[in-house]
Symmetry: C2
Subunit: 197 residues, 2 copies
């Protein structure tokens, strides 16, 4: 392959990657505002400003687009929570909860839709959701171990706590109360109780 | 309508109701052992010992059969937990948790399948699951109010705790440890912490 062809191919691939990235960002916004069933493939194409044909070049089906967008959203959520690790030990939990609840608040509809079914029987969707839970569990466990916390069934307690945070997040988003700070404080005190027992 | 015809009709209906009930019980057993996708309609008919045609007289589709069985399982779970109300105030939580975890253990595969997707995007399935969560939340709230427990966002804390119990139940069933008593104790201490904060 000549250098020129090689360069051209790489440039095309880069543009294609950028375009795909742009589409995914738009998809996350779209599915954050409304649920999977509410959004049609024509609407997706119109919202991102390309033809249905070109969209299907990047994503063969609505499901493919949704799953790719969900994977991006999962990465975004974990990326939002990650900097909390740099907080001092005492602030880390609070910073992580602020980041998590902030993401939930900004992507309320998409979060509710995912947690309450989305296309829940889909094994890829399930794997993405489990991946987020596992990453959060591992992150919290690392923080706790660094802080010298030890107790039997610590992993089980932390996994349960992630379930607690998901359930209160859903209830909070659907009821619109109490304040985000109160939810964070409830979750924080709950983890301290879970690891102290 | 003559008295004789009326009696005959009532008898036919009663037999039909009994048959339906019998099929549902078999369905709950079937879906408790394996997941929705694993069980075929032919297998259901064979397991309950009737023809596919007669099965479809009672339940037009596999989904109808699953949803009806799930509704029965939800009723069974709540019925299993209900007698805990008759325990003394101090034992009530422990008795309720024993009943819940006992049901989860006996119907492990069906519980995991339901919680991890089942046919999760189905709005009826979602409604049944939400109904169980709501009934449990209301039951726990009543118990707490009778015990004189009051705190802001009590409902939110209890709803979060139900999420905690679901998450630890799943993790417990999938890992096969620790013992049921330890899981119950973890959940019990977690609720006491949630309401004390």
């Amino acid at each position: 392959m000549s250098d020129v062809t090689d360069k051209r191919l790489r440039r095309t691939r880069r543009l294609s990657d950028e375009r795909r990235e742009e589409l995914l960002r738009a998809g996350v916004e779209l599915f954050s505002a409304r649920s999977y069933d509410e959004v049609s493939i024509d609407e997706i194409a119109a919202a991102v400003g390309i033809s249905r044909g070109l969209l299907s070049h990047y994503f063969p089906s609505k499901r493919d687009f949704y799953v790719a967008g969900l994977r991006r959203a999962a990465d975004d959520l974990l990326a939002a929570v990650a900097p909390a690790v740099r907080s001092t030990a005492g602030d880390r939990l609070r910073a992580g909860l602020d980041a998590y609840l902030g993401y939930v608040e900004t992507h309320a509809r998409g979060f509710v839709s995912l947690m309450r079914g989305g296309i829940g029987s889909d094994s890829e969707v399930r794997a993405i959701l489990d991946g987020v839970r596992e990453a959060l569990t591992v992150g919290v466990l690392e923080g706790l171990r660094e802080a010298g916390v030890e107790r039997p069934s610590l992993r089980l307690a932390v996994r349960g706590w992630i379930g607690f945070v998901e359930a209160v997040s859903l209830e909070w988003i659907e009821r619109g109360e109490p304040s985000r700070d109160e939810v964070a404080e409830l979750a924080r005190s709950q983890l301290l109780a879970a690891i102290g027992g």
